[in-house]
């Protein structure tokens, strides 16, 4: 009786995993095709598009660049300077000093001759109190605004203050330590300006690792693949997630998320959706969900767009400990979000988001680590009881392995189609080689850390990190890599 129950259970589990696995593979194949098509269309448009027109135009919409900073004293000046030299005719740079305990604020005030001003703004999204707003007495820095606020233990809170202070209809959400391409604003605003029937509420672009790139005073001099293994895996993973994943989703107007590292947002919709949630572990995706809900509830035909070019370089963690914290946090964020918005699952009221984006994230992002983990346990159990059909098992393993290698290799290819990011072909090889060992080395880590995150969230563990998590890894590596 008990054993038949187990057998049924096993059969059911096998069938489910099989269906699950096959559907996942099909989805990846479809994404690869969709993103390829989307990238081709994008490249065709780029081939004749002239961005100089928007730089020279009085019709360019204004954009507020919002960059929170916490204890960035070492690099703050170079990073602010780099934000001040973006190629765009009408923008402001809002640096939010999130209660730094170092000399971040003092350095900025001195370097850019800033003074405290009486600054009136409306608290459209509630956030921690502002201690002061600073403006430069030098007209050359007229577009710089520095806001000093109390630490809110979350980037979300700082970003919200930035939104309150900002004066333009669009805002770019980024981190002060991200290195942005000089054309970032022009390229991100274009999808908003050339959409015919929908209101584009957010656009994102690809992010990469800055770890081994040559950076001089906040200006990117040479793009290189990370040398450190952990960062190299992340570069690979980012390329796949952005170039293949999000570009594919963008084609069918189902982008699940615009990264917190770089995204251009429609401010009105963000404010009406309530802004970033400081209590969330994945505030970028959480906001996206609420924005999607808002536009649906108010019957605004909307879209979220993604472009394949890399416009932002960010520091990836190189120590396992910091990496674990980051991914655990992401895991927490995901499950927290899924629980909070569970009503959207298969809810036709929310259109594509309810029927496609949310279910995909639920089954293939949230449940994937769990199913994989259980699958491995199951296999171990089978091995222990000697029930494994080894030839079949090995064939299936090879199948999954070759398939994942193929998908990731395609991602590298798609990425190379958009632009020759690395000058040296050896850098391509460095990233591409990760494809072959990812499944054995990197992937198990991600699964374990995600499950760790789920466990923490479900057992309601208090998070003792905040800024440490967000910024901790900054201290482990230096900004500029040696050029050897």
């Amino acid at each position: 009786m008990f054993s038949t129950f187990l057998e049924y259970g096993a059969a059911f589990f096998e069938a489910t995993v099989f269906v699950y696995g096959v559907s996942l593979l099909i989805i990846y194949a479809l994404l690869a095709l969709l993103s390829f098509k989307n990238i081709q269309e994008y490249l065709k448009k780029e081939s004749y598009n002239d961005y100089k027109v928007i730089v020279a135009s009085p019709l360019a919409p204004g954009i507020s660049v919002i960059a929170p900073a916490f204890n960035e004293g070492v690099t703050i000046i170079a990073n602010v300077r780099s934000l001040l030299t973006l190629d765009y005719p009408k923008y402001e740079v809002i640096i939010i000093n999130d209660g730094s305990t170092d000399d971040t604020l003092a350095k900025v005030i001195k370097e850019f001759s800033m003074v405290k001003v009486d600054f009136a703004y409306d608290i459209k999204i509630s956030a921690k109190p502002v201690r002061g707003v600073y403006k430069s007495t030098d007209k050359a820095y007229a577009k710089l605004v520095v806001v000093d606020k109390e630490n809110g233990k979350a980037k979300a809170d700082a970003s919200n203050v930035g939104i309150n202070v900002s004066s333009f209809p669009y805002f770019l959400c980024t981190d002060v330590d991200c290195i942005l391409h000089e054309q970032t604003l022009q390229k991100l605003v274009r999808p908003i300006m050339e959409e015919e029937n929908r209101r584009v509420i957010a656009t994102g672009a690809t992010l990469r690792m800055v770890n081994s790139c040559v950076v001089d005073e906040g200006v990117l001099k040479e793009i290189r693949a990370p040398r450190a293994f952990l960062a190299r895996f992340q570069e690979m993973e980012y390329i796949r997630a952005f170039v293949l994943g999000k570009m594919g989703w963008s084609k069918i107007n189902a982008v699940p998320n615009v990264s917190g590292g770089l995204g251009l947002f429609d401010k009105e919709i963000v404010i009406k959706s309530g802004g970033y949630d400081p209590a969330s572990f994945g505030e970028d995706m959480e906001l996206m969900m609420r924005m999607s809900r808002y536009v649906r509830d108010n019957k605004i035909p909307a879209a979220i767009r993604h472009i394949p070019v890399t416009l932002c370089w960010t520091e990836g963690p190189t120590s396992l400990k910091v990496f674990m914290r980051q991914r655990t946090r992401w895991g927490r964020g995901l499950i927290q979000l899924m629980i909070a918005h569970r009503k959207m699952l298969f809810n036709p009221r929310y259109g594509r988001v309810g029927l496609l984006v949310f279910p995909y994230n639920f089954f293939y992002e949230l449940l994937a680590p769990v199913i994989e983990f259980l699958g491995i346990l199951y296999y171990i159990a089978l091995i222990m009881t000697g029930q494994v059909n080894w030839p079949f098992a090995i064939i299936l393993l090879i199948f999954v392995y070759t398939y994942s290698v193929m998908i990731s290799t395609l991602a590298v290819l798609w990425d190379q189609l958009t632009f020759h990011y690395y000058k040296d072909w050896k850098d391509v090889a460095r990233v591409a080689s990760m494809v072959f060992i990812e499944m054995l080395v990197y992937h198990p880590l991600i699964v374990i850390f995600a499950i760790r995150g789920y466990y923490f969230q479900l057992s309601n563990r208090k998070h003792t990190w905040g800024n440490m998590q967000r910024k901790g890894f900054q201290k482990t590596t230096s900004k500029t890599a040696p050029s050897s």
Partner: protein, 133 residues
């Protein structure tokens, strides 16, 4: 002949202006971004600076502002050449102390005339920096 520093991040434009000015007999030094511009400004003396607005490291307005607040460089004539055409930026440049503003696409002849005029007015104000030395 007067020394001119041309700051411009577009390679084609940089070379073109250099060629046109050299042909007219000016001594031309070029810089392709804000950082290089400040280095050249510190190491050499110039009568006129022609600067673009958007470029890496430091934008043109910073160049203008730095020249106007530096006692030793106050007398340098500044011409901004930029594709940015919105009124705010143009007035901003003038308020910071730029002497002239040319919007791209420019007319080469016009640039030369404006340089000549600027030199004449600098001369009447107390002479060119390079010639006073």
């Amino acid at each position: 002949m007067p020394n001119i520093l041309v700051i411009e991040d577009d390679d084609i434009m940089l070379k073109a202006i250099r060629n046109i000015l050299s042909k007219d007999g000016y001594t031309v030094v070029t810089a392709k971004d804000g950082k290089e511009a400040f280095e050249k400004l510190d190491s050499g003396t110039f009568d006129i600076v022609i600067t673009d607005l958007m470029m890496p490291y430091a934008n043109g307005l910073e160049v203008v502002s730095r020249l106007r607040t530096d006692e030793s460089k106050k007398g340098i004539g500044i011409i901004v050449v930029s594709s940015v055409g919105n009124e705010e930026t143009i007035t901003e440049a003038f308020r910071l102390g730029a002497d002239d503003y040319l919007k791209k696409p420019i007319m080469a002849g016009e640039l030369l005339i404006r340089i000549r005029k600027l030199i004449a007015s600098l001369n009447s104000k107390g002479g060119l920096i390079t010639q006073n030395k």
